[in-house]
């Protein structure tokens, strides 16, 4: 009796979190998968089971494929960039140097500002006519750049904005991983004659594998869900060059009232995220 009670206790502690997870994550996910099988008559509001009709519709829709392509390109660029920079930054701030505490606080500041505010401030800084960045470029003798209004520069501008928060955030996790590496291991490598690069690639990186796996997965998911800067700054433009799937889904579902297509797009994205995260976890799986 006593043992049974004791066994239940951990589950009771987990229950509130589990309930929230079910209500806010699991149920909407299932509802979305379910919704993607229905068509709502725009006229009568009636819901009719439509099987894969919504999927058929989006797979034949060039705009969906265009936003799929933009999302893939964005992910292939932003994730490696953010993780490489975060790793570099973490290694730098892991050094013992005078005043490093102050520097650690400063570089963490962008995390304390919400993504929405960051996006709006960056939008002002990148403005073609009165933005600060163009002011600096002009001083340097470089002509004004259109940034968010250029097909070639808009996605890169979004990558910069996303990384402004992303890099310090992920480097925080990597820093924690670095500080978990026992110093004697690195000292032993040094004594054995390993140079800095060798001890970084042969000791530090392998020992960071678990942390990097987490960061890679979390960063991939976060960037797949990237939405606020697009809504606030580009509305998917110019010429759909920043039309990430998340924004296209919002536009279809909430602005244009096409919930079926919106749910189908989300479901497709869910499957893709699952596959990519699966591959990432497999590639970085622990062998110890």
């Amino acid at each position: 009796m006593m043992r049974a009670r004791q066994q239940i206790i951990p589950y009771l502690f987990l229950l509130p979190a589990l309930l929230l997870l079910v209500v806010f994550n699991l149920m909407p996910t299932i509802a979305t998968l379910f919704e993607s099988m229905f068509v709502i008559s725009l006229r009568s509001g009636e819901r009719v089971f439509a099987g894969f009709a919504n999927y058929n519709r989006i797979f034949n829709d060039p705009i969906f494929w265009k936003s799929f392509q933009v999302t893939v390109v964005f992910s292939l660029l932003v994730n490696p960039i953010q993780i490489a920079l975060a790793l570099g930054l973490a290694v730098l701030i892991n050094q013992r140097a005078p005043g490093i505490g102050i520097f650690r606080s400063i570089y963490l500041l962008p995390i304390a500002v919400s993504l929405n505010v960051t996006a709006i401030v960056w939008g002002l800084m990148l403005d073609q006519n009165s933005g600060m960045i163009n002011g600096i470029l002009l001083q340097l003798g470089i002509p004004r750049q259109p940034f968010l209004h250029s097909v070639d520069q808009a996605l890169w501008s979004i990558i910069v904005i996303a990384s402004w928060i992303g890099v310090p955030l992920w480097s925080l996790f990597i820093l924690a991983g670095l500080q978990n590496i026992p110093p004697p291991v690195l000292e032993a490598a040094k004594i054995d004659g390993a140079n800095a690069w060798q001890s970084f690639t042969k000791i530090t990186l392998p020992l960071l594998r678990r942390v990097l796996a987490f960061v890679l997965v979390a960063d991939t998911v976060a960037n797949f869900l990237m939405f606020a800067p697009i809504l606030l700054l580009t509305s998917g433009g110019p010429r759909l060059s920043t039309n990430l799937i998340m924004y296209e889904t919002y536009r279809r579902g909430f602005l244009y009232g096409d919930l079926g297509a919106s749910a189908a797009m989300l479901s497709v994205m869910l499957v893709i995220v699952f596959i990519i995260v699966g591959i990432e976890l497999y590639a970085l799986r622990g062998r110890d």
Binding site: R43, D61, Q128, L138, H149, S235, P238, L240, L255, G257
Partner: protein, 427 residues
């Protein structure tokens, strides 16, 4: 034990409070919510409440783009609030098609309906039923800064002159000045007030004989990428990208820049007339002339404005329809025009006040009479389509792209592709 008693008493009190609440609420006025733009709503609400003490109106005021998204999300979800919504007129068919609005025919008498401009009744109706009562209509004029004309050594047009777009291009380039020589003009020659919106930009292809949408209200291929559209928006492209006479970048409100003397001409609504006339700090001399047109084409002017409708799911049908009736007819309509939006009224009886009121005898307020007349010159309503929201927003993105240097034909073809893919759900 004491704790239990206390709990019991509290619960009983709670139950009583709940039971008694509706009885006391009966004396409270019915509150209705009106989702609208940031107009001065105090006067109209005050006057309505004075005549209808059993109703209280709460204005929920949001920005231009937010209004459409809010209506879409809230009415789309079947919410019973807001009770009353301000409706941009081309969206009436889309809302009526989705059964979001209450039919309003029984609310108005024959005389009241006859007082509205016929075009406004048509625009507020879908398949012969009135869904949104006309409140205002609109037109556009050319506003100019006389100082710019002096500086360029040119003669400004008179209030009844109508310049061609070709002349505007010419003048605008001569009135663009880079005073500090940094390569970016400090005074710009020209801009459209709603620089990326079809409301104002449709008049360009319409002047050349183009149409807004196919006869079925769905087809855009061959319409918005027709030679007329390509020619019209090549002009638009050139204004920003070749002649460099109009500023690129983010959208802004040109009247603000006009007042500081940094924009010489803009095509804009008559709502700017009282704004400039009543601005005591304004130290530029300004004037208006008629809406421009292409030399090879015909004059065509933008039209249409705000209507008002009742949420089909409201729980306060009576109070909501009374408010809609008040603001769109007779005395209420006049109050809204005088002390509310100040937009052009859709009621002929209120429009007639422009001709008789002394206020409009002298310059600059007499420009309102010019505007009232311009509203009758080939007004071109926007596309009548259930998918207007998609049509409007996609074109807005496309115009913004063209303004910032995107190829015209390529952009219009992309618009066709995008609008087609959105229209698929209505077919």
């Amino acid at each position: 034990m004491l704790l239990r008693k206390l709990l019991l008493v509290t619960m009983l009190l709670g139950i009583f409070a709940i039971l008694l609440a509706p009885a006391s609420a009966q004396d409270e006025p019915t509150t209705i919510t009106w989702l609208t733009l940031g107009w001065p709503t105090e006067a109209i609400i005050e006057e309505f409440e004075a005549r209808n003490p059993d109703v209280s109106v709460e204005a929920e005021q949001v920005g231009f783009n937010d209004l459409f998204a809010q209506i879409q999300v809230r009415l789309g979800a079947g919410s019973e609030v807001p009770d009353v919504i301000s409706v941009d007129v081309p969206l009436v068919s889309g809302y009526a098609f989705r059964n979001w609005l209450l039919p309003l025919d029984p609310v108005f008498t024959g005389d009241e309906v006859e007082d509205w401009l016929p075009a406004a009744i048509d625009a507020g109706s879908y398949e012969g039923t009135l869904y949104a009562a006309p409140v205002s209509t609109s037109t556009q004029l050319l506003f100019y800064n006389k100082g710019c004309f002096d500086r360029a050594g040119l003669m400004p047009p008179g209030a009844d002159d109508r310049l061609t777009w070709e002349e505007i291009a010419e003048i605008a380039q001569q009135m663009t000045f880079d005073d500090d020589g940094d390569g970016t003009p400090d005074v710009w020659g020209f801009i459209w007030e709603q620089m990326v919106r079809i409301y104002q930009l449709q008049a360009l292809p319409e002047s050349l004989g183009g149409s807004a949408i196919g006869d079925d209200g769905m087809t855009v291929d061959g319409v918005i990428n027709s030679p007329e559209w390509i020619e019209a928006y090549t002009y638009y492209y050139n204004m920003f990208n070749v002649w460099n006479a109009a500023p690129q970048g983010e959208e802004f409100w040109p009247a603000d820049i006009f007042e500081t003397g940094n924009i010489c001409m803009f095509v804009g609504g008559p709502w700017n007339i009282p704004r400039f006339a009543n601005n005591a700090d304004l130290d530029i001399e300004w004037g208006v002339s008629r809406h421009p047109y292409f030399a090879d084409g015909v004059p065509a002017t933008p039209t249409g404005s705000w209507h008002i409708g009742v949420n089909a799911n409201t729980e306060n049908v009576d109070a909501a329809t009374r408010f809609v009736h008040f603001i769109s007819t007779g005395e209420g309509a006049e109050i809204w025009w005088r002390r509310g939006s100040g937009d052009f009224p859709a009621q002929q009886s209120v429009l007639a006040l422009f001709a008789t009121e002394e206020e409009f005898d002298a310059l600059p307020m007499s420009y309102m009479r010019t505007a009232a007349d311009e509203a009758t010159v080939n007004p071109r309503p926007r596309a009548v389509t259930v998918g207007f929201l998609e049509y409007e927003q996609i074109l807005q993105n496309i115009f913004q792209d063209i303004r910032n240097g995107a190829d015209v034909e390529e952009s219009l073809n992309l618009a066709v592709q995008r609008i087609d893919s959105e229209m698929a759900k209505y077919r």
